[in-house]
Amino acid sequence: GGDSANPSTSNDGSSSNSSDSGGKRTVVVGGLYDITGGTGDVGTPYAEGEKAYFEYLEMKGGVEGLDLKLIGKDYAYQIPEAQKIYQELRDKEKAVAILGWGTGDTEALRQQVATDQLPFISASYSENLKNINESPYNFLTAASYSDQGRAILKWIVENHEGDDAPTLALLYNDTAFGRSPIEDIKEYAKEVGVEVVDEQVIDVQATEAQSQLLNMEKKNPDYAIIQQTWGATSTILRDAKTLGIDTQFIGLNWAAGEGIIDIAGADVAEGYIGILSHAFPYEDMPGMAEIKEYLDAKGKTVDDINQKFVQGWVAAKIMVEAIKIAAEKYPEGDLTGPQIREGLESIQNLDLGGLAANVSFAPDNHAGTEMTRLGIVKNGKWEPITDYFSYKD
Amino acid sequence: MLRVSNLEAVYQKMILALRGISLNVKEGQIVALLGSNGAGKSTTLKAISGLLAAEDGHITDGTIEFQGEIINNISPDQLVKKGIFLCMEGRRIFKDLTVEENLYAGAYTRKDRSSIKSDIEKIYEYFPKLKMLEHRKAGYLSGGEQQMLAIGRGLMAKPKLLLLDEPSLGIAPLLVKEIFENIKKINEEEGLTILVVEQNANIALSIAHYGYIIENGRVVMKGEASALLEDKNISEHYLGTGKDIKEGRSNRRRQRIVW
């Protein structure tokens, strides 16, 4: 069984890795989702996006010569559970590639993944995963958290008004996810002449953050970068408004998205800036055509999905792209992890139709892109304020 | 008033504690229930007051009839409302409640809330020591003080039938006498019916009208209290030989009284 993009063939028992079911080669991609855990609010649409892309492929007749399946399971954002499910995907479902989720579990699995030679695309854009030696099978499909931070710094330097050097605070939580970009941001800030005046740790599940914000206020930073999820970000924005703090808050990609406006309220979110690593459904991008086609077939509209859905869709699409390349290159026998890795590594400037920055990989580069863009909440809606750009430009 | 017939009870579905007990308590009487350790006295009282289930015990046969109604399957709190109250063995006072609160707890099911206060004063008259300890947590009381409290709590309930399980346990002799005199008095003045389990057969029979002796879960003897008092076997078994203990030792080893 398993959650399958291909219901017609999923009944034959997924454990068979037989190279022909109807003359097709079976390729199983494993998925680790957070549906019921702490990040389920964004994890659910993301997982849906991934599944949707596989369903869409199926709808369009699938990939030539392949029987492509996505088998995903909920690990509720608990690392031990992720490890168990990963084993299940590897040993029972015979997955040859994985679509993952959190920073903690992705990092926890990276060595195992390397040993098992399973290419792994995670929703975590932790800079650590770029390191080819430590994580030879991990791939990043959007700008890393650190690169996002650097992009923000670049934007700040370019847009800062006033004579003094811009000052910056960092707000994050005490998890692998939260701390991932902090050192890099501090280093880069020094480079570009932004002064990091304060750091505050705010729990992912914080229901208030007043003491931290008051502390921050003492340093009176011009900007504050938030590396959090929707819940904590909304708490920060709301408390900041309550306390009348006029710092410009800027969130990394998980601290941006529709949820902020929904939870914090449009008036609180107004003026908040965030990294928009992926397109919103309402943005008129060429890449949206596919999604709309899929939604139409399902009797849904773009209002039923959000940016995180798009994000999942894109991750799945990149993985499938790599599988296609691998399948072409190795037309015989079962597709293996290393072959798919090769496929990924040969992706060059993959056009995502504006849904995200184009990605390229190489054997010595698993970071798909450094490009990202910024947006602002205006009239209760996210609006891009830059195009995709790299801090290196 | 209370008629127990052929009662059989087991604990944990395997330990047979009562093997067909029958007894009768008439309204206004004091009935004494005697027997050695493990005879099933406490079990009988628990069965009557519905408290067996809490120890994983069950009535497997026989009936208990109270004022003409079969009460085998009535829950203990209902039974208290019907007027049966058990002063459990081992005191079982509420340790974390004060002495006064314990007495209030005894009166839990009473409707006449107004007279509770004065009844508490009455208990303090019976047991002046308790008055001194009024606001102390009951858990700190000495063994005997706890026993007084347990009896007092039973009296507070103003039941129709009071079941007392070894009220004299751990009570100093002077007070034992006093307690039993009080029991007698309450019985006479207020017509309270009492079924009392007691090791101190002498004193129990001296105030009781009727007595039962049970061994191994069966009634082995019954009769008017006065008659039982005079029975030689009984006095030897329950009151001791009366001889000096030191003298009677040579022939005591492994001797068991078999009924």
Partner: protein
């Protein structure tokens, strides 16, 4: 000023803690068990309230009362189906059962309402009050008031009502309580109903602050130090403990965080509790277990 603002913040946040802690105390008093599903009881309240408000389009107050009724019912169901079945089991089994319950209820919430965060239509005024430079959000002020009212109600309840006495008796010695004619079933049912309602109130206030999402149930664990600090069986303790932990958290956050690189807010309550317990093993107001031989 900074200090004062921290202090006030602590008190207002603490009042929510106290409210949630109260739910623990109630259950503990009647059954000696820690209700580890308290966080999930907190969760149900705001969801139900939200549903009533939006689906039936009734004003908040009506929905609020409806929620209380529902919560009482939920408490009753839980007691009937779970707690009552464990009447003769050791307390630790009951604690474990509440843990199972927490997973079950969380699952139920997920099934019914999904994972997205919802927001309350503004019930309390949104503009913060500025009292001499100290800023307070009205929701917090309300929770403070409600906590105070509940403190009075429960103190009176435990001291003077028959059921209050019965609750304590039942917790002390169940069999003996039965022999007093106390219906253990009734007492437990009452307790769970009340505790569930208290949790719902806490949840609704919390939902008004941060929106409603399944992660809210984390408050259940957050307030454990509060309950312990105050003393497991003390209503007063729960509330004062709530204030204290709220204040300590904020002061630690305010003054110590900058020294250690942050993150103390969630650790400090436990450190404080550990220290205080070494001096007062039953919390500040908890009653000492009685052991006599």
């Amino acid at each position: 000023m900074f200090f004062l603002q921290m202090l006030i913040n602590g008190i207002v946040v603490g009042s929510i803690y106290g409210l949630v802690a109260l739910g623990f105390v109630l259950i503990y008093r009647a059954s000696g068990a820690l209700n580890l599903a308290n966080g999930e009881f907190v969760l149900f309240g705001p969801y139900v309230c939200l549903v009533i408000m939006t689906a039936l389009n009734v004003p908040f107050l009506v929905a609020f009362i409806g929620t209380l009724l529902f919560s009482a019912f939920l408490g009753l169901v839980v007691e009937r189906l779970v707690i009552r079945q464990l009447q003769n089991a050791p307390t630790i089994s009951v604690i474990m059962a509440t843990l199972g319950l927490s997973s079950l209820l969380a699952g139920a919430v997920h099934i019914i309402w999904g994972h997205t965060t919802r927001t309350f239509p503004p019930v309390f005024p949104q503009t913060p009050l500025n009292i001499g430079g100290i800023i307070i959000t009205p929701v917090y002020l309300w929770s403070f008031i409600i906590v105070m009212i509940l403190l009075v109600i429960f103190s009176i309840f435990f001291k003077y009502s028959k059921i209050g006495l019965a609750m304590r008796a039942v917790a002390d010695d169940r069999q003996a309580a039965l022999s007093m004619g106390m219906s253990v079933k009734f007492v437990l049912a009452m307790t769970w109903m009340i505790a569930s309602m208290v949790a719902a109130i806490g949840g609704i206030l919390l939902g008004n602050i941060n929106g409603v999402s399944p992660t809210m149930s984390a408050i259940g664990l957050t307030v454990l130090p509060v309950v312990i600090l105050g003393g497991l069986d003390s209503v007063m303790g729960a509330i004062i403990g709530g204030f204290l932990i709220g204040i300590i958290q904020n002061l630690a956050g305010g003054y110590l965080d900058p020294l250690v690189g942050g993150g103390l807010k969630d650790v400090v309550p436990f450190i404080v509790v550990l220290l205080i317990l070494m001096l007062k093993p039953h919390g500040l107001f908890g009653s000492r277990g009685i052991e006599r031989v």
